[in-house]
C-alpha cells in the first residue's frame, strides 16, 4: 500500500481582519473606492520624496532628460560638490550641534520641571506654576517683543538664541503636559516605596521614574529634535552672520531665493558634470536626512505619547 500523503494540516481559519462579527463584509464597490483613495493618498504623500531623492542622485544627462521614478543614470557628483564646498558642511555642522545640544537641554529641563510639578498638592505654589506654564499655550507676546528681548540680552548672532528662542520653545508647554501626565500615571506605590526607603526626590526621579519613562522621553526628544532641526524662523530672525546659519537657512538661500550656487562649489572641477537642479535637490535631501533616518525607529512610540498628552491636555 502506497503511503498516503500526509493530510494537509487543517488550517484554522484565522481572522486576519479585526472586523467585528456583527459587521457585514463591505461591498466590493466600497472596498474598491477606499483602496483607490488610500492608494492616491499614499502616492501623494510619498512620491515627492522619491522624486527628489532620485533627482539628487541623477547624472546631469538623466536630470536633463527627466524621469518619473528613478533616474536612468546615477551620479554622486551633486553631493561631492556640496560636501567639498564650505557653506553646506558648515551649515550641517551648525544644525547638528544645535539639534543635539538643544534637544538634550530641552529634554532635561522639561523632564525636571514636569516631575517637579507632579505633586501639586504637596508642593506649595506648584499648581500656580503649572497654570503659568499652561497659559502660555493661549497667547504669544509677538514677534517684536521677542526680538527686542533677544536683542537686549545680547543674544543676536549667538547659538544660544537658536536654542532659547526656538519657535517651538526651549520648553514647550505641550511637551511638559505630555511628560507630566505620563509621570502622574506611573504606579505611585512604587515611587512611595522608594521615598519610604529614604530616597530623595532626585533619586526617585533618576532611579525609579526615568527607567519607567524611556518611551515617552524618546517621543519628547523626537519632537524637540525635529523642531530644532527644522527651525528656520529663529535663525532667519536672530542670525545675521552667514557662517552661523543652520542648514534650513542655507537651503532657503540657495534653493528658494535663487542665490547663485557658485559659492557652494568653491573652485571644484566637477561643476560641469552637475546641474543646479541636482545640487538643489541634494541640499534638500541632506536637510531632511536626519529626520528620515530617525523617523522609522521612533514613529511607533509617538502616537501613544501624543495621545496621552492630547487627551489630558
Amino acid at each position: 500500500m502506497a503511503t498516503l500523503p500526509a493530510p494537509a494540516p487543517v488550517q484554522p481559519r484565522r481572522r486576519r481582519s479585526n472586523r467585528p462579527a456583527w459587521e457585514g463584509r463591505p461591498s466590493l464597490a466600497v472596498s474598491l473606492v477606499k483602496a483607490v483613495v488610500l492608494l492616491l493618498i499614499a502616492i501623494v504623500m510619498l512620491y515627492p520624496f522619491v522624486y527628489v531623492i532620485g533627482m539628487s542622485f541623477a547624472s546631469a544627462r538623466a536630470a536633463a532628460s527627466g524621469f518619473v521614478l528613478f533616474p536612468t543614470e546615477f551620479s554622486l557628483d551633486a553631493y561631492r560638490t556640496l560636501l567639498s564646498g564650505n557653506a553646506v558642511p558648515q551649515a550641517l555642522q551648525v544644525s547638528v550641534g544645535i539639534t543635539l545640544a538643544g534637544t538634550a537641554l530641552s529634554v532635561v529641563f522639561t523632564v525636571l520641571m514636569a516631575y517637579g510639578l507632579t505633586r501639586t498638592k504637596d508642593v506649595p505654589g506648584a499648581r500656580f506654576i503649572l497654570y503659568l506654564a499652561l497659559l502660555t499655550m493661549l497667547f504669544s507676546a509677538g514677534i517684536i517683543p521677542n526680538f527686542l528681548l533677544i536683542k537686549s540680552l545680547g543674544l543676536i548672532d549667538t547659538y544660544t538664541a537658536l536654542i532659547l528662542g526656538s519657535t517651538s520653545g526651549f520648553i514647550s508647554a505641550f511637551n511638559l503636559v505630555v511628560i507630566r501626565n505620563f509621570f502622574m500615571e506611573l504606579p505611585q506605590e512604587v515611587l512611595d516605596a522608594a521615598r519610604v526607603d529614604g530616597a530623595s526626590e532626585w533619586q526617585v526621579l533618576t532611579k525609579v521614574v526615568l527607567p519607567l519613562s524611556k518611551a515617552v522621553i524618546a517621543v519628547i526628544a523626537l519632537f524637540y529634535g525635529v523642531a530644532y532641526w527644522n527651525d528656520f524662523f529663529t535663525a532667519m530672525i536672530y542670525i545675521n552672520d552667514t557662517s552661523k546659519w543652520p542648514i534650513q537657512v542655507v537651503l532657503n538661500q540657495y534653493v528658494l531665493t535663487g542665490t547663485p550656487l557658485d559659492a557652494l562649489a568653491q573652485g571644484n572641477t566637477t561643476e560641469r558634470t552637475v546641474t543646479p537642479k541636482t545640487i538643489k535637490m541634494a541640499i534638500v535631501v541632506l536637510s531632511t536626512l536626519p529626520v528620515l533616518v530617525v523617523y522609522p525607529f521612533l514613529q511607533r512610540y509617538f502616537t501613544k505619547g501624543v495621545l496621552t498628552g492630547a487627551i489630558k491636555g
Binding site: V37, M113, D197
Partner: protein, 341 residues
C-alpha cells in the same frame, strides 16, 4: 491622583520611615490621622517648602524660562505706544499714546495683510480643518490593522519635514521647471506655474497645509474614536444602521466634543497663518498676495525698523486672538454646557 496622599507624610527621611515601618501600608493609602501626619500638617508653609526643596530645584530652570521668555516679553509691548528707537531704548523713546494704532487703521499694507490672513484662515478652517476628520474615519473603517499602521506611518511623515524642505519639494514638483510642467510639455501644453501665481496662492497654501498636517492631525481624532464604546456600534448595526449611518449617528456624535474643542483653539489662531510657510514663498508670489499679518510685522519692524507700528499690529493681533479663544470657549459652554477651560 491615587497615592498622592501618602506624600503628606513627607520626606523628612528617618522619622517618617519609622512611622511607615510600624504601620505597613501596602495599598498606598494616606496614613491619615497618624500623629506624625498631624504634626506635619500643623507645620508652616516654610517647612513644607523646605521639605520639598528638591522639587523647587527641578522646577526653577523651567520656571525661569517661562517667566523670562514668555511673560517678560509681554512688557515689551509698551513699544506699541512709543515712537521706539533701539538707540533710545524703552525708557527714553517718546510716548505717542495711541498714534500707532490710528496709523495702522489707515495703512493700506496693514489692510492687505489682514485681508490675506483672513482669506487664508477661512480656507484652512473650511478645508484643512475637516480633512483629518475624514481621513481618520476612512482609516478607522479599515479592517486590517497592518494596513492601517502602514498608512499611518506614511501620512504622519510630512509633519516632520520642515517648511523650507516642503516648499522646495513642492516647487520641484509643481514649479515652472518642475515635474508636472515637464509632463505637460510632453503633452504639448504650455507651462502652468502654480508656485508663482498670486491668484492660486491661497489655494496652494491650503493644499500644502493639508498635505503636511492631515495625517498628524488624525491622531487626536483616532484617540476620540477609540473611546467610543463598541457596544454603540453593535446596537446600531443590530438596529439596521449601515456603515454610513453608523458614522453619522455614532462616530460623529462621539467625537463632536473633540471637534468643538479643536475648533475653539483654531478660532484663537485665526489671525495666525504659517509664518515660515508664507515668508518662504513670498518672493515667488509677490507681497501683494503673500503678505500676512506676521510677515508684515517682521518686515515693517525687524527689517524696516518701524518698531512702534509693527508692535501695535502684533499687540492687536494677540489681544484679538485671546479674546476670540475666550469668546469661542464661552459660546461653547453656553451651547454644550462644557468649555475647554
Amino acid at each position: 491622583m491615587r497615592g498622592l496622599g501618602v506624600r503628606t507624610g513627607g520626606a523628612d527621611g528617618v522619622a517618617v520611615r519609622g512611622a511607615e515601618v510600624m504601620r505597613p501600608n501596602p495599598k498606598g493609602e494616606a496614613p491619615a490621622g497618624t500623629p506624625e501626619d498631624r504634626r506635619l500638617a500643623g507645620r508652616s508653609v516654610w517647612s513644607r517648602i523646605w521639605r520639598e526643596r528638591w522639587m523647587y530645584l527641578f522646577i526653577a530652570p523651567g520656571l525661569l524660562f517661562f517667566v523670562l521668555f514668555r511673560y517678560v516679553p509681554l512688557l515689551g509691548n509698551v513699544v506699541a505706544f512709543q515712537d521706539y528707537s533701539p538707540f533710545l531704548g524703552f525708557t527714553n523713546s517718546a510716548w505717542v499714546g495711541l498714534q500707532n494704532f490710528t496709523d495702522l487703521l489707515t495703512d493700506r499694507e496693514v489692510l492687505t495683510a489682514l485681508e490675506n490672513t483672513l482669506v487664508l484662515s477661512f480656507l484652512q478652517i473650511v478645508f484643512a480643518f475637516p480633512a483629518p476628520i475624514a481621513l481618520a474615519l476612512l482609516l478607522n473603517s479599515l479592517s486590517f490593522d497592518w494596513l492601517k499602521r502602514i498608512l499611518q506611518s506614511i501620512v504622519y511623515l510630512p509633519h516632520f519635514i520642515g517648511w523650507v524642505v516642503v516648499v522646495s519639494i513642492w516647487t520641484e514638483v509643481l514649479g515652472g521647471a518642475g515635474l508636472v510642467n515637464q509632463l505637460l510639455a510632453e503633452l504639448g501644453q504650455g507651462p502652468v506655474n502654480v508656485m508663482t501665481n498670486p491668484d492660486a496662492f491661497p489655494w496652494l497654501v491650503t493644499a500644502q497645509v493639508i498635505w503636511k498636517e492631515i495625517g498628524w492631525n488624525t491622531i487626536i481624532f483616532f484617540a476620540a474614536i477609540s473611546m467610543i464604546s463598541p457596544q454603540l456600534y453593535e446596537s446600531a448595526a443590530v438596529d439596521g444602521a449601515g456603515p454610513w449611518r453608523r458614522i453619522w449617528h455614532v462616530t460623529l456624535p462621539g467625537i463632536s466634543g473633540v471637534i468643538a474643542l479643536l475648533m475653539v483653539l483654531r478660532l484663537g489662531t485665526v489671525l495666525t497663518v504659517g509664518f515660515e510657510q508664507i515668508i518662504l514663498q513670498q518672493k515667488a508670489v509677490g507681497a501683494e498676495a503673500a503678505q500676512v499679518i506676521d510677515t508684515f510685522v517682521y518686515y515693517r519692524g525687524v527689517v524696516g525698523g518701524d518698531w512702534g507700528l509693527s508692535a501695535a499690529v502684533g499687540l492687536l493681533k494677540g489681544v484679538i486672538g485671546t479674546v476670540l479663544v475666550l469668546g469661542a470657549n464661552a459660546a461653547l459652554k453656553r451651547f454644550s454646557g462644557q468649555g475647554v477651560f
